[in-house]
């Protein structure tokens, strides 16, 4: 019978000790935690420095998306900045209802056009609100903080070493006894 009382007191001691600690939660949504630099939550399409839209409507992101949430309509028209004819995306829809936030679309973009943002989309009452179209994606570029990752940076991080002189190559090979089962 005694062990019950003793163990109760020990458990009580631990919980009471926790009462005196500072709580670890924050008052969301009034306070929000600072997210990491690479945190990926929503999407944005980018312009480059001259104001030109980076997206060329190549549909690489549409092809790679595992959930098939991206729909791109491409067109060719004159650029308002350089005057030359190039391809654009006429309509770009990204459905966040089904997106799995895998970052593959960011990885494959040849022009670093699509990136992810660090703040999540607010919850919505209608499905359409979570469906991002081009206007909202370009809005996100201006209004939301962007993650660190875009296609060039990811590729730079992941790339195997460039072709080196033979001596260094032999040393590198000695390390790479990659063992896949």
């Amino acid at each position: 019978m005694m062990p019950y009382f003793v163990d109760t007191l020990r458990s009580l001691f631990i919980t009471m000790r926790n009462v005196l600690r500072k709580p670890t939660t924050v008052h969301f949504p009034m306070e929000r935690r600072v997210r990491a630099e690479r945190y990926r939550a929503s999407f944005a399409l980018l312009h480059d420095q001259s104001g030109e839209e980076l997206c060329i409507g190549c549909k690489a992101c549409e092809r790679i998306c595992p959930s098939e949430v991206i729909t791109v309509d491409a067109e060719k028209r004159e650029s308002s900045v350089t005057g030359k004819k190039r391809s654009y995306a006429k309509a770009f829809t990204l459905d966040q209802n089904a997106c799995i936030y895998c970052e593959l679309c960011v990885q494959v973009c040849p022009t670093d056009a699509i990136v992810m943002t660090r703040t999540a989309q607010e919850p919505a009452f209608h499905r359409q609100t979570l469906c991002l179209n081009m206007e909202r994606l370009y809005d996100n570029e201006r209004t939301q903080p962007l993650t660190w990752a875009n296609a060039s940076r990811l590729i730079e991080m992941q790339a195997p070493p460039a072709k080196e002189p033979a001596k260094a190559q032999d040393n590198a090979d000695a390390d790479q006894t990659g063992q896949a089962r």
């Binding site: 062990p3 458990s11 670890t24 630099e37 092809r63 595992p66 494959v108 790339a159 195997p160 896949a180």
Partner: protein
């Protein structure tokens, strides 16, 4: 059923256990096997037994899982499990998606430990395609897997306490504590990959995200806090008399039953069989690390808890060994993903297995499928939770409903990988 647990055994759980030494001084128990195919009509002609569905909607069935119990009062006479409520057709989906696209989908298989899923998948693909993985990537994958193991076991521990004590009560207190510690690990993952959960950080031939500056310090502080708090949890729950009454001698899965049903992981090790893929069939960086495996011989819920807590400690030790010594080098041996059809294969086959927190998670892949060979032809997932759940019809009869919940919690099924 009062079982005296010697105090030396209790304090032994605070030290890191060595290979092959059981942590308790209790004798190995035999499962009182129930009959899963009991003919209820013959057993109970007057239909006195009550049929209770621990139904798909239940606060503690660990996902959607239906357990049909035939009860004599509160005693379970026959238990029939029904899974499949979370079947999403992942294996069929694998025939349509390409190798590159499958990795983020597979995060959702065993949704509590995504690193293991991705790791086993890319290992299978690398084996099929004949791709070598550079040393840095192998090391990083191992490190992430061990961190994920800590996070998964912490989640399990909180959920198990909730099963024992209720969402409004002592169990939820431990649940909150475990999640507080787990957030430290999830923050670490967020620094590295950008997502707290479901990372998509593995790719065929290496990893996609490299270690940012200051990451090692964050991992160190997270690990230190977790190791410190584990002692607090043990004082709080695992030495509590009420908890010991609820879990000692309950749900004994002995070695014979585990071997017959193909159960691996902590359940097998708690039954006394010393088998851990990290040590017996090492992959990635495990051949450089000496993984110390904990076994227990009692095979009941308390033994499984001990084994899992010891595994957390072991993972903490391994992470400490690895975190400061990640070798330099490239992160991938293939070109980074630029198109969907980057990897193609002919008809060949490969099997790769990792030691997930639940057991041996294996992927068997036959290549040469759709998209001109860029998709697998067939992919089969060997999920440890499915085998673990199959022990329920044998173990549950003879226990009461409260025990059923405790046993289900300690078996740690994740319905995502049971139903795929």
């Amino acid at each position: 059923m009062e079982v005296e647990v010697a105090s030396s055994a209790v304090s032994a759980s605070r030290e890191i256990s060595a290979n092959q030494r059981p942590v308790t001084n209790r004798s190995p128990a035999k499962t009182r096997r129930g009959d899963p195919y009991l003919d209820i009509a013959a057993y109970d002609p007057e239909a006195d037994l009550m049929v209770l569905n621990l139904g798909p909607q239940h606060p503690s069935t660990h996902g959607v899982f239906r357990l049909k119990l035939y009860l004599d009062g509160e005693l379970i006479v026959k238990a029939v499990p029904f899974c499949g409520y979370l079947h999403r057709g992942v294996e069929k989906l694998c025939e349509k998606l390409t190798y590159v696209q499958l990795v983020p989908i597979f995060d959702k298989n065993d949704y509590v430990s995504p690193m293991m899923n991705e790791q086993s998948l890319v290992m299978a693909f690398e084996s099929l395609l004949g791709v070598e993985v550079p040393r840095r990537a192998r090391y990083l994958r191992t490190l992430l897997a061990e961190l994920q193991r800590i996070a998964s076991h912490l989640l399990w521990f909180g959920a198990f306490a909730m099963d024992l004590g209720g969402a409004l009560g002592g169990g939820s207190t431990l649940f909150m504590y475990c999640f507080r510690e787990r957030e430290l690990i999830l923050d670490v993952f967020e620094e590295l990959t950008g997502c707290r959960f479901h990372y998509n950080t593995h790719m065929i031939g290496g990893n996609r995200h490299d270690v940012p500056a200051g990451w090692a310090a964050k991992v160190h502080s997270a690990i230190d806090i977790i190791e410190h708090r584990l002692i607090e949890y043990e004082n709080y729950l695992t030495t509590n008399r009420i908890y010991l009454d609820r879990t000692c001698g309950v749900g004994v899965v002995d070695a014979d039953l585990a071997m017959e049903l193909g159960i691996t992981g902590p359940i097998l090790r708690a039954a006394g069989i010393d088998h851990d893929l990290r040590r017996d069939a090492p992959y990635h960086a495990y051949d450089e690390l000496e993984v110390r495996v904990t076994t227990d011989i009692a095979g009941d819920c308390e033994a499984r808890t001990r084994v899992r807590l010891a595994e957390i400690r072991e993972s903490v030790r391994l992470v400490r060994l690895m975190i400061d010594g990640i070798p330099e080098g490239p992160l991938g041996s293939r070109k980074p993903i630029k198109t969907n059809l980057a990897e193609k294969s002919e008809r060949g086959h490969a099997y790769a297995a990792v030691e997930s927190p639940r057991g041996e998670l294996g992927i068997y892949v036959i290549g040469g499928g759709a998209n001109r060979g860029a998709s697998p032809y067939r992919l089969k997932i060997r999920s440890p939770s499915l085998h673990a759940l199959s022990c329920l019809p044998y173990v549950l009869p003879g226990h009461v409903v409260s025990d059923a919940v405790a046993i289900l919690g300690s078996v740690d099924p994740i319905m995502g990988e049971v139903d795929r």
